[in-house]
Amino acid sequence: MTTDTQKHEGSMSTAAPARAPHGDVPTAHKTPEGRVGAGLFDPKQLVTSLPDAFRKLDPRVQVKSPVMFVVWIGSVLTTVFSVKDPGDWFGWAISAWLWLTIVFANLAEAVAEGRGKAQADTLRRAKTDTVARRLIEDGSEERVPGTELRIGDLVVCEAGDVIPGDGDVVEGVASVDESAITGESAPVIRESGGDRSAVTGGTKVLSDRIVIKITTKPGETFIDRMINLVEGAARQKTPNEIALNILLASLTIVFLLAVATLPPFADYAGTHLTMVVLVALLVCLIPTTIGALLSAIGIAGMDRLVQRNVLAMSGRAVEAAGDVSTLLLDKTGTITLGNRQACEFVPVRGVTEAEVADAAQLSSLADETPEGRSIVVLAKEKYGLRERHQGELTDAEWIAFTAQTRMSGVDVDGRKVRKGAAGSVIAWVKERGGEVAEDAQELTGEISEAGGTPLLVAVEDTDGARVLGVIHLKDVVKDGMRERFEELRRMGIKTVMITGDNPLTAKAIAKEAGVDDFLAEATPEDKMALIKREQAGGKLVAMTGDGTNDAPALAQADVGVAMNTGTSAAKEAGNMVDLDSDPTKLIEIVEIGKQLLITRGALTTFSIANDVAKYFAIIPALFAAVYPGLDKLNIMRLSSPDSAILSAVVFNALIIIALVPLALRGVRYRPVSADRLLRRNLGIYGLGGLIAPFIGIKLIDLLISLIPGIG
């Protein structure tokens, strides 16, 4: 019994288009506006990540970031000097704040990693040790641990079994619960052959029996890779991150030179600079803000994708997403709803629209295809025709739609009503000695040209057989797609619609949806050629795909997003997997990629701009005693030299913590032109970065000067 109901459920979900529930319903991961920019940041995470932050004080960890390693060495130096001169409160205060600077940097990274760890734990629970039922050559089964499976092994899974490893279904159909990896509770159908044959280890078979051919070694399965990814263990520095690190390292060297050469200059001027002061100056100048947050930004960027149920196989792919200038989008499911829908009834001369609607509805009652249903819906919505049920009409003979006849209809009260493909209906009418109205041909032609699909409605009654009119079926462009493409254009991204339709239809839909270009009657080879052509012109291409025949194109594209429902070949070829199998998400992926780069650039700018104020705090503090004129540079009027230097160091440390939420959330991205983005970000992070520390340092100095015995 149980198996039967499950079977039923299974077949239900086969009928429903697999992607529909994901495309339109906002998932819990999306923000209210459905845009990137928001992320979750809970201040509590700062506290829970503290132990990790202290563990990362290990120099072997610090050495990975040149900027922070310099701070680490500086902290060690000042601490040593403070130990040698324990009565000097200033040395201790500076040392403490330098160590805090590193702890804050570690904290940023630990918080970013912590969010991934929670997800990894959930995944690990799915990856319980399974026992596989391996098929031996003689057809019998043996029970082996899942970890002993090899590529090419055949295993059997029945209802209730957890699939022991990644593979392809080679026999049978089953409904599978993939909530362990997708978070989506509705079961999906997996069947041998075709594009829905891939199964993932750790997911659960709910019904039926399938034979799976294992395609991945244990330990390298999808779920293993996912765990590595979200934990950040597999994280490698991306090209842009490396380039930025080089720039930061060279700035660090410049400032190291500026500070290291200062003692002889100062000695000549008649003042001696202590090691503590020199280290404080150095740490204030080197780009600690971005150096501290750089890795957190990268981890958080990957994490934002994971939150949207997208797994990027490499950070490089996420970065490439920001650079994409051509998007290849499949028409069906991405740009249009899954099926064509009736949009109008057009009568031939001498027939009213209502008559056509009535006949169309009647003839479609026996048509269970989505197109047929849409005709009934249109008749109801537009012409107020109540939906009749097949049982209402007695003595009616229903003719269901089949792929062979390409017609459906009903014979009732001596009246035969048919609707269907133009060729079939014309043949039916002529067979019965009826005539085809002259304008019927014209009308079908017009609809085809407009990108629609014409269906003819005919009737045979006492007046003979004749065509009544035409039903206009058309692809329905999803709501809001036009605006989305408009945004993409503003971002400088060209959209290309890929469709199997003929060029005429494709052109009409392309125009309606507002895409820039289309590829009609597309074969996998055409797709591949298009990608190569775009790439030869220096453009980066992103696409989605799910079929095995998409695999070469997915591999060729710079950003290839495989649908989780797709074949393992497709998933292997792409560099991202969308667990929701929602091709529209490509647009969000691009935005996340851009946001990642913007956040890095903005914080770098901020970090460098900050230095100006720090000089104005520290230089007069160091030298106003020997050159009183330099006190004019003390424009913040800081209370004392010690307080000025300490304030700059404290500001330098606190700004890291203050910016952790921004680093994790990412700078808000709006799809506007590069010019407007630059103006906005330069205003906020460039000018803001110049001004903010003047205020911050002054405030900290005011607080410090209140401490008795200092100031």
């Binding site: 090209p239 410049v254 200059f265 050159y627 590069a674």
Partner: protein, 554 residues
């Protein structure tokens, strides 16, 4: 007409002349470097040096040619000075000592023209005209060749080929510098600059005593001294000497000469990369900095309220009466912002802050507009850095002129950026820390420190001007400034050519609405800001202890 107004009017006239000249000259230079035809005289030269001017070179080959040529240049100039005592036409001057000969040879080959000697007391006609003047031409042409190679790196794709060094070098001389200098020399002669091969004259002075006057091919050397942003004067007093720069008009004309090629090269750049607007953006960046510095300089030099300065109408100490404060300020800023290093007034005598402006001008890296060629490539490297940071802020892998600024590009640009600060700061610190070198200072306190800082800033950035006061003819200074000049000239060129090669190999990325628009004023503003902030942050402590300590004391 007050002196301030006069200064401003001269500045306006100068800007007008440059605006008129830069388009035809820049376009002409683009043609020179793009043409595939050789002049007959050029063919003779190629045959003479055994070079094939038509082979395309990748960056290592281009660099090898450049280094070999420059090495031979240093060697030749060194030997010429060492042998001066036995050469005819040397006015009886003896051979130059090794340290100074090395320093001078390096100085002229690197387009620095730092002079630790007194021209009229040390160098005869043969060395001046046959050695130094020749290097004035070729060192400038080398700089332009490197700039053009970098421009080709942006303009070309998928080849890695940067052109032919020998052809770029020879054409720079035959088609640009020689004709330009010839015209300029005629104008200078017409305005009173001397041009002869006469000897030394002892002339009795009005107040008693006597003075030594040298003849020489001054106008011809003066022309290329300015046009090639060299700056090495025939006489020690440089452009303050009436034989080099007799009238306010020649003064303005010389400023025009030293600015015209660096500014015009932005046009050449625009034409060669196929977008004159990109050239205008670079021009605007250079012009903003230059005008800003001139304005600041005039302000510091005019705005003094103390008695003597007020009566003189400004800080007249060290400035020629025939030029005045305004014109001297324009000259001082232009010569320090162009890596020329010629002087018509004594930078050491400028107000504290004014001296700081000349220092900061050089510290920018000689890019606004910079030396012939070196200004353009230096500015383009800064643009690469600015594009990298700003490009990230628009959410794309940064790209400039369709070329991606990736790891390799940023590595090379960052190395370029490091060299001069390292040379300036390390050599200055060594000079301050070691026992003897500070004895060369003329002044105590902050001003003395400025003298040393100025010397190494000038040498490392290949400017060549001196703050005056510092006795640089010691083994220490001759050797260290010589090294600073060598490293400050050729190391950046290595990175620039490698960068050019890397860019030329790339497939260009087509511009979209998501691309950072580098031809817009916003980018120019960003670039100006980036240059000022990066330079300011690097040198602020040093500047604070020198010119700022002095200038703010009042």
């Amino acid at each position: 007409m007050g002196p301030v107004l006069a200064g401003v009017l001269q500045l306006v006239a100068l800007i007008a002349a440059l605006a008129l000249a830069h388009v035809p000259l820049g376009t002409y230079m683009a043609k020179v470097y793009s043409s595939d035809r050789h002049w007959r005289v050029e063919r003779w030269i190629y045959r003479g040096i055994g070079a094939d001017p038509d082979t395309e070179m990748r960056w290592p080959a281009y660099l090898r040619g450049l280094l070999a040529f420059s090495f031979v240049g240093v060697l030749f100039l060194y030997l010429l000075q060492r042998l001066q005592g036995v050469l005819p036409g040397s006015l009886g001057f003896s051979s130059i000592e090794p340290a100074q000969a090395f320093n001078t040879a390096v100085s002229f080959v690197t387009n620095t023209n730092w002079q630790s000697y007194y021209g009229e007391q040390a160098m005869g006609h043969v060395v001046q005209t046959g050695g130094l003047a020749v290097q004035n031409f070729v060192s400038a042409a080398v700089g332009m060749a490197v700039a053009v190679a970098l421009v080709r790196g942006f303009a070309r794709s998928r080849s890695g080929e940067l052109g032919n060094f020998w052809s770029d070098l020879v054409r720079g001389v035959t088609r640009i510098l020689l004709p330009g200098a010839a015209i300029a020399a005629v104008v200078l002669v017409a305005c009173g600059v001397i041009q002869n091969f006469s000897g030394i004259h002892e002339v009795g002075q009005f107040m008693g005593g006597s003075q030594q006057w040298n003849g020489g091919a001054v106008a011809s050397q003066e022309a290329i001294k300015e046009l090639g942003t060299n700056g090495g004067g025939y006489f020690n007093a440089n452009s303050a000497h009436p034989f080099e720069n007799p009238t306010p008009f020649t003064n303005l004309f010389e400023i025009f000469l030293l600015l015209v090629i660096p500014f015009s090269l932005t046009r050449t750049f625009g034409v060669m990369v196929g977008s004159v607007r990109q050239g205008y953006a670079i021009l605007a960046t250079m012009a903003t900095l230059w005008v800003g510095f001139v304005a600041l300089m005039m302000w510091t030099e005019f705005a003094h309220h103390e008695g003597a300065l007020q009566i003189a109408g400004g800080a007249m100490e060290g400035k020629e009466v025939r030029f005045g404060v305004g014109s001297s300020s324009i000259f001082a800023v232009s010569t320090t912002l162009t890596s020329t290093g010629a002087v018509d007034s004594f930078h050491s005598s400028f107000t504290g802050l004014g001296g700081g402006i000349t220092l900061l001008g050089m510290m920018l890296g000689e890019i606004a507009p910079g030396g012939t060629g070196s200004g353009l490539y230096g500015m383009l490297v800064m643009a690469v850095i600015a594009v990298f940071i700003a490009g990230l802020m628009v959410g794309r892998t940064p790209e400039y002129l369709g070329k991606k600024i990736g790891t390799r590009e940023i590595k090379l640009a960052a190395c370029y950026l490091l060299i001069t600060p390292a040379l300036v700061l390390v050599f200055t610190a060594a000079s301050m820390a070691l026992p003897t070198p500070p004895h060369s200072m003329l002044n105590p306190g902050a001003h003395g420190f400025s003298e040393v800082l100025y010397a190494f800033t000038s040498a490392s950035n290949n400017n060549g001007s001196a703050f005056a006061g510092l006795n640089a003819n010691t083994d220490w200074y001759n050797t260290t400034t010589g090294l600073a000049m060598l490293l400050g000239r050729f190391l950046p060129m290595v990175f620039v050519l490698a960068l050019a090669g890397s860019l030329a190999e790339q497939t260009p990325v087509p511009a979209t609405a998501g691309t950072l628009r580098t031809e817009k004023p916003l980018f120019t503003g960003l670039l100006v800001g980036a240059i000022l902030i990066i330079t300011g942050l690097t040198y602020f402590p040093a500047l604070a202890l020198g010119p700022l300590a002095e200038g703010l004391a009042a």
